[in-house]
């Protein structure tokens, strides 16, 4: 715990390093040397503790010995590289084993470098710098804050470019579509040159657009060339972000509506939010990108919106449903799709809304889809829905533990109902949660 507390306490943007080294003296020397060079160092003396530290701290770098008391460094490296949250962290092996096969094995496990002991501190530091330099991603352009203004109203731009000639050129181009910000005015967008720093007084939620006098950034940063198309492109980018905000607001309103409806037929409040949250966690574990995870979240929250068109008597009925009532209830995915199909920008959610009761073996509804005919996002929401339902008390059965719920879902996988990889991702999360 001490290592974690020390590392977390440090707010400075120093390089955080986890050293996994079983030899106390070697670890101390290494720690002092790295600290002297401005790094925050946490040390583990065995593989299990090393993995725990890496998962807790998400350091910038791991220095890893090969020979450890409980396992070997290859195993630790493979575990780090197999976890989506830790896999981007570069690993450097430090080992007395200097044979070619050892180095090949270490590098083939995903290490960024392999240094044999004894090593010179200067060489170690140089290699660390090289590895960290390669690992650092260029800063991605920040998304803009929501913009609230009437349609057609001109946007406000601030040009924060040091070069007077380029600044004037950009201002002239923008003048056709934008108002230029006064000193005390909050802009909708800030224009900066290349990879220059954003002015400190610019709020985090203001859109930042980087420009280059040429055709683009040489360091991989996304930049917009200053040419005749420049004002139009900036205008489109800022308005697209505004539209995204509007979409988000519309979706939030729908979610409130859907939650209000589900409160009638769900004994436990917040079920929809828990399903959405669980589905997003599974999506993250499966390495899905942020946009897909957002689709999953909204789809999970709105999956039962079709219930709004069903008679309340069916939704609130406590006894067994008649075949006719059952058939009507099973139309809610289709009704939900109909409701949302009016929102073109929500089209990505429709498969989740329509298919979240499908099963891989074709016994689900409404379309009796089979296996991968059901998109992965839908399979994730289905698993999250069933899992969260098992954790809640119901009239016909009590709640079960998370571990028991996983076992029940695994049985459903064996019967061919649910996706095995999605349930495996959930099981991994539950195991990790239980271990903490």
């Amino acid at each position: 715990m001490k290592a974690i507390e020390e590392a977390v306490r440090s707010d400075a943007p120093a390089t955080r390093v986890v050293v996994v080294e079983d030899d106390q003296a070697s670890a101390d020397v290494l720690q002092r040397r790295l600290q002297a060079n401005g790094m925050v160092v946490s040390v583990a003396h065995d593989g299990r503790r090393g993995i725990e530290l890496v998962e807790e701290l998400l350091p910038d770098l791991v220095l890893l010995d090969v020979m450890l008391p409980d396992t070997d460094g290859y195993d630790v490296c493979l575990r780090i590289k197999s976890n989506t949250s830790t896999s981007p962290i570069p690993v450097i092996f430090l080992s007395a084993r200097g044979e070619v096969v050892d180095k090949v094995r270490g590098l083939s496990c995903g290490a960024a470098d392999y240094i044999t002991k004894p090593f010179q501190a200067a060489e170690l530091l140089a290699r660390i710098d090289a590895v960290l330099g390669q690992a650092r991603n260029p800063r991605v352009p920040r998304l803009g804050r929501p913009i609230e203004r009437a349609p057609g109203e001109r946007l406000v731009a601030r040009v924060a470019i040091a070069d007077p000639a380029l600044r004037e050129h950009v201002q002239q181009l923008l003048a056709s579509r934008f108002d230029l910000a006064d000193a005390d005015e909050t802009p909708d967008v800030v224009i900066v040159e290349g990879s220059a720093a954003v002015p400190a007084d610019v709020a985090e939620d203001v859109a930042v657009i980087r420009v280059s006098a040429g055709r683009g950034g040489s360091d991989g940063t996304e930049m917009i060339p200053v040419d005749a198309q420049f004002p139009r492109i900036v205008d489109l980018l800022v308005r697209e972000r505004s539209l995204d905000h509007d979409l988000q607001a519309a979706a939030e309103a729908l979610i409130v509506l859907a939650s209000a409806i589900s409160s009638h037929d769900r004994p436990s409040a917040g079920h929809g939010e828990r399903v959405a949250s669980r589905a997003v966690q599974i999506g993250r574990a499966l390495g899905l990108d942020e946009s897909t995870r957002m689709t999953i979240r909204l789809g999970a929250l709105l999956r039962d919106v079709g219930n709004a068109r069903l008679p309340a008597a069916i939704l609130t009925k406590s006894g067994e449903l008649s075949p006719e009532e059952r058939a009507m209830l099973e139309r809610h995915p289709i009704l939900g799709e109909e409701i949302l199909s009016g929102f073109k920008r929500l089209s990505g959610l429709l498969p989740i809304v329509r298919h979240h009761h499908e099963r891989l073996d074709g016994t689900g509804y409404p379309d009796a889809l089979r296996a991968e005919q059901i998109p992965l996002e839908v399979r994730i929401v289905s698993v999250a829905d069933r899992f969260e339902a098992l954790l809640a008390d119901r009239a016909d059965r009590p709640a079960v533990s998370e571990a028991e719920a996983v076992r029940i879902l695994q049985s459903a996988v064996a019967r061919g109902e649910l996706d095995a990889a999605v349930v495996a991702a959930l099981a991994t999360q539950v195991r990790a949660g239980g271990a903490r």
Binding site: T71, D72, Y74, D75, L78, R79, K81, S82, N83, S87, V101, V104, R105, L107, S108, C109, G110, A285, L286, G287, T295, G348, P351, L360, D361, R370, A371, E372, Q373, P375, L376, E377, R379, V406, R407, Q410, V413, A414, G416, D419, A420, A421, V422, V423, A424, A425, A427, T428
Partner: protein, 265 residues
């Protein structure tokens, strides 16, 4: 979301083809790292390194099964045909079906013998084959059986990755391999359109094995040194060893700790 598959016939170029001449013996042993080092030292004194396998290269094997797990269930009963895609890399990939050469493998396991046939094809052809569009030449009838499995809904579900050291006799009558760093993954499979060559990302890590899996495969009689080695391995093995496919599927379905059968069914 990705649209569903669009059918298109892929013309299969003449693939690289390797096949067992007849059923061959196959025994597996789960041993410690130190035992494996001794075994491979003895092996290296008697057999040359396999020309086709780079030492410590990563083998990535993607296994297929149906929604009803019919291949796995048959394998548990002792007889099944595995349908799998194998690829080789210098460093461990985090995706499967990467661009390059794929080996489509059919392996018919029975008791302690196996019959294997494989085709080296481009990954585009492998993907097309998985969609049931491309066909492969017949030899032992395994390709036809694989096509039937695909028609029955078989698709990639689990993956193993490991470092392999392989030794082969010059006449290929004896092959001894040691697999290190054995890892089992789930695979969240998505059907792809033609022309979509993006690799498929691995799912959750199901398990890792701390031990080394030594496999002996041979035709006819073993040479004397190999008989002794086999006896030593049999004495030293930790567990009677099911195939990697069975272990992977047990982990995937949560039916066991992997190597042992589950009590619950």
């Amino acid at each position: 979301m990705r649209p569903s598959s669009v059918k298109r016939k892929v013309t299969t170029p003449a693939p690289a083809h390797e096949t067992d001449a007849e059923r061959r013996h196959e025994h597996r042993f789960q041993v410690s790292e130190s035992i494996a080092r001794l075994v491979m030292r003895t092996t290296a004194n008697n057999l040359p390194l396999s020309r086709d396998d780079r030492p410590y290269q990563w083998s990535t094997t993607t296994y297929c099964d149906t929604v009803a797990w019919s291949i796995f269930r048959a394998a548990e009963k002792g007889s099944a045909m595995q349908l799998r895609i194998r690829e080789y890399h210098r460093t461990r990939p985090r995706e499967v079906l990467n661009p390059g050469t794929a080996w489509i493998e059919f392996k018919d396991d029975e008791q302690d013998t196996s019959l294997k046939e494989r085709f080296g094809v481009s990954m585009e052809v492998a993907r097309s084959f998985l969609r049931g569009d491309a066909t492969l030449p017949e030899d032992h009838g395994l390709a036809e059986r694989a096509s039937l499995l695909l028609r029955d809904g078989a698709r990639p579900v689990a993956v193993t990755q490991y470092n392999r050291l392989a030794y082969n006799s010059l006449d290929s009558s004896l092959r001894i391999t040691a697999d290190h760093n054995l890892m089992y993954f789930a695979l969240p499979w998505e059907t792809r359109n033609d022309g979509d060559t993006e690799p498929s990302p691995l799912g959750s890590l199901l398990a890792m094995e701390p031990d080394v899996i030594v496999e002996m495969k041979w035709y006819g009689e073993l040479p004397h040194w190999a008989v002794d080695l086999h006896a030593y391995l049999k004495e030293s093995t930790r567990e009677e060893r099911p195939s990697k496919f069975i272990v992977a599927m047990r982990w995937l379905l949560g039916e066991t700790d992997g190597t042992k059968k589950s009590k619950k069914k």
